[in-house]
Amino acid sequence: MPKDGGIGAPTRRREDYRFLTGRGRYSDDIKTQGECAAIFARSTVAHGTIKSIDTSAAAAMPGVLAIFTGEDFVEVGGNPAGWLINSRDGEPMKEPKRPVLAHGKVRHVGDAYAAVIAETVQQARDAAEMIEIDIEEHDAVVNMKDALAGTTYVHDEIGTNQCFDWGWIEDNRAATDAAIQGAHHVTTLELVNNRLVPNAMETRCSIGHYDTGTGDYTLHTTSQNPHLTRLLLSAFVMGIPENKLTVIAPDVGGGFGSKIYHYGEEALVLAAAKKLGRTVKWTSDRSEAFQTDAHGRDHVTKIELALDEEGNFLAFRTETHANVGAYLSNFSTATPTFLHGTLMAGNYTVPNVYVNVKAVFTNTAPVDAYRGAGRPEATYSLERVIDMAAREIGMDPIELRRKNFIKPDQYPFASAAGLEYDSGNYDALMDQMEKVADKAGFAARRAESESKGLLRGFGVNAYVEACGIAPSNLVGVLGSRVGLYDAATVRVNATGNLSVMVGAHSHGQGHETVFPQVVAEMLGIDPGSIDIVHGDTSKIPFGMGTYGSRSLAVCGSAVVRATEKIIVKATKIAAHMLEADAADVEFKDGTFSVVGTNQSVSFGEVALKAYIPHQFPIEDIEPGLEETAFYDPANFTYPSGAYCCEVEVDPETGKVRVNRMTAVDDFGNVINPMVVTGQVHGGLGQGIGQALMENTTYDSDGQLLSASYMDYAMPRADDLPFYTVDHSQGTACTHNPLGVKGCGEAGAIGSPPTVVNAVIDALQSGGKNVTHIDMPVTPHRVWSAMKNAG
């Protein structure tokens, strides 16, 4: 048993030393002898037909080595969507090809139509400016409802801007309609879940390398899942055999979803590397990041909540328009459907749920999963309409939620939206929230705010999400084109230390600290003797990546399974060393001992024996001590939480300040509480940013108005309060070996409705009849809402 540093220890993140001292090694830090640079020529118009591209002047510029256009990739495959969605009528979704470089048309501002490879970045940039493109401009398709009504198509070949029209669960539709029709009270709310730019601190970077001696390709890239990128490049886009392609994602400075996906720039640098026999590097600048990283959210939703006389929920019905942008990014079709509609019963025993989602192509950047991915959209719709209903029927918003909560004795609980929740205790979370947030003291704090001329509001929220994605059998039925297991190899070296190769890439999550805590606990050894290896397809068995708060629940479970195999084999070796029957050998605190005797060998001695197998029963046991496990979860995990916040609103200016923020989460068992707290902090910052500040705006011509930090407001430290974070009320996940649920996205899921609910409460307290304000709740929007309310 490790003295400290095992399961439950708030161990400091070991990776922070290199990050905080400037020793991290990111893709752009990699300098290769003889490397050259790629720069992309990108469309400045949102929608147009490419009449011609003249690269002759650019090609004559100093240092230019090659120029690529869409013509060069006509024979190359498209970048596919990872999830097939069928419309309500059974028709499969529309899947227009997403090419490496735009061909025929440009479809959003930033769409790359050519790439210049030159000796230096400066030369490539100079040459890119000399490419002459003749574009016949078309009207931009920007607004989703206009897109469905109009006859200007983003993809002419599909003859519609609708990707799919999905119903969930279609068989529940009639019952849901009937429940709403006959209800005592129906609350209806139309809302916008605002589009977000991910803004990872490190912009994307890809380096292609081709070994002219062996024909092997290597791609260094900013990826949350290098194996997935390899799979897409091999099986769909480039056709490079997987055994000839290594994908390496070194340190990655944040992803938040945007680096899950394969992007055309990755294919381009590989193609260029092969053509030139040179290493080719591209690093995105911040403007490109704004224009081309997959954005998040962008739903327009109408939600209805039907209640009976006592306030029991009878039905939720939603109609959502989900913007997928100009092309289908890899998970863009799963995010608004199975990661969204399936959560639309929330924490509640509501018997009827029906969700309709229309996915719409527009001349904007592709939209895909962003921290929370569909679940924040579901939670926001539910928890806003519940708050509105509470106000309409005159019931306390916490009481209304409690009345409808699933109770602890109801698990496993089959939700009306089709999931089976395994565990939870929502009342306990709410109790703890009220306590640690000092809800009782709110009235006094409100009076104090009012004495300063400010309005103070209290906002509450409950959420449940589905993490640990996902059971491959289940998602396969639902349309996923991949499995969602993960893998780990535990390698015990001869001298007793360990290298653990994990499929889950770490780019801020703390895997390098947390996974060793698990293995150390199981083996009873010092976590400092265990290192994690990740991010390199040539070193690790396989991995489906880091997203959906899945790393610990899925990859961590694979680590557990592999470590269990190590223990089984090591016990056999120990039994041989102790001349005992393996059934009589007990492993505890890093020592193998024969039950009922004082004979024992240490884990280190067994490891050494495995690699120096003298007097070893090679007929029964192989030398070496290394095991691999793939883990495919039996169900999603279901983290849940009760959040509250208090805001102060300046009634003269509309300025909102989040004054207190409390997050009480059920993450199941917690391996490292400090890392969990840090994950929640980050999520809360992003959620508050979405609620109050982040405003991605395209004008009617498809120009991105909020295309830099001058206009896109990211939350800064002084925009945020100190947080109260509590995860004392965990109920263990029932189906994975660690009992963990996942914590990466919770803060971003739970906080936006909490903040907006608090703003509405504040305005109502000041006698302003404002019932809803769309995010971001900027000062201007608050002032306008107050003014319009009279």
């Binding site: 400016e129 200016t653 705006t697 909020s706 930090y709 896109y712 990211m714 201007h780 002032w783 306008s784």
Partner: protein
């Protein structure tokens, strides 16, 4: 960024000469110009740095006037004029972030005349005199519209002279992304009247709110402006606020500045 040459003269005279070169452009703290160059939105052949010129450094406070060299950074102003002109020091201390304040200069800000910059409000609100290599220009004549000033080609802001008011205050309501003023108001009370300068709000750049000045000269209290209406016909409307919102904020910020100054 495109390639350019850089000159670092050590006298105003040499700087003026250097600026006569084809497509030469002055560079002071670079907090606007360098990002512009990085985006390839400008392509000067030569940049003439103004930050190595002793004549453009230094701050003098005497006889009811504070005179600040054109190349003095915001951080230096914030640290140096707290006694002589507290409202000006306060304004300087809240421009941008520490990097901006340690590089950006008062002359650069006034020469650029960004419609959302802070210093133009202080200069116009104080009735300052802009000193150049050839002349002195009253603030009322200097600011001529968005990014437009009375400066001639090659003319350099070598200093600014502020008459110190009895009372003054600067109230800034920030645009949440850039943290430039969405609307900010500089109010200064002098023996002969009150001046009110507004930045961030107008398509014409910084301007004086005459009605408020008149009302406040008669009665220096927030009540004096509460009944006034700001004409919003030429105010900025953008992502962050409509014209009528800006008009409203002008009144609110003016009232708060008066209350804070009084």
């Amino acid at each position: 960024m495109y390639a350019f040459d850089i000159e670092c003269p050590t006298s105003v005279a040499d700087a003026v000469t250097a600026l006569q070169a084809e497509e030469a452009q002055p560079l002071s703290g670079g907090q606007t110009l360098i990002p512009t160059l990085k985006q390839r939105l400008a392509a000067p052949s030569t940049l003439v740095s103004l930050t190595k010129i002793p004549e453009m450094q230094g701050i003098e406070a005497s006889g009811g006037t504070v005179r600040i060299g054109g190349a003095v950074t915001h951080a230096t102003v914030a640290a140096s004029v707290g006694q002589a002109y507290p409202a000006l020091a306060d304004l300087a201390s809240r421009i941008g972030d520490p990097a901006v304040r340690n590089r950006g200069t008062i002359g650069g800000s006034l020469a650029n005349n960004d419609p959302s910059a802070c210093y133009p409000a202080a200069a116009l609100g104080s009735g300052a005199t802009i000193i150049t290599n050839t002349r002195e220009i009253a603030a009322d004549d200097y600011f001529q519209g968005m990014f437009v000033t009375a400066l001639e080609e090659g003319e350099i802001v070598t200093g600014v002279s502020f008459p110190v008011p009895e009372k003054a205050n600067y109230q800034k309501f920030i645009q949440p992304a850039s943290r430039f003023p969405l609307v900010a108001v500089f109010v200064a009370k002098y023996g002969d009247g009150v001046r009110v300068a507004v930045t961030g709000a107008s398509n014409e750049g910084v301007f004086r709110w005459a009605e408020a000045e008149q009302a406040l000269s008669a009665n220096f209290s927030a009540d004096a402006v509460s009944g006034l209406q700001v004409d919003d016909s030429n105010l900025i409307a953008d992502l962050h606020g409509s014209a009528d919102y800006r008009a409203h904020l002008i009144k609110v910020m003016t009232g708060r500045a008066v209350t804070a100054a009084a």
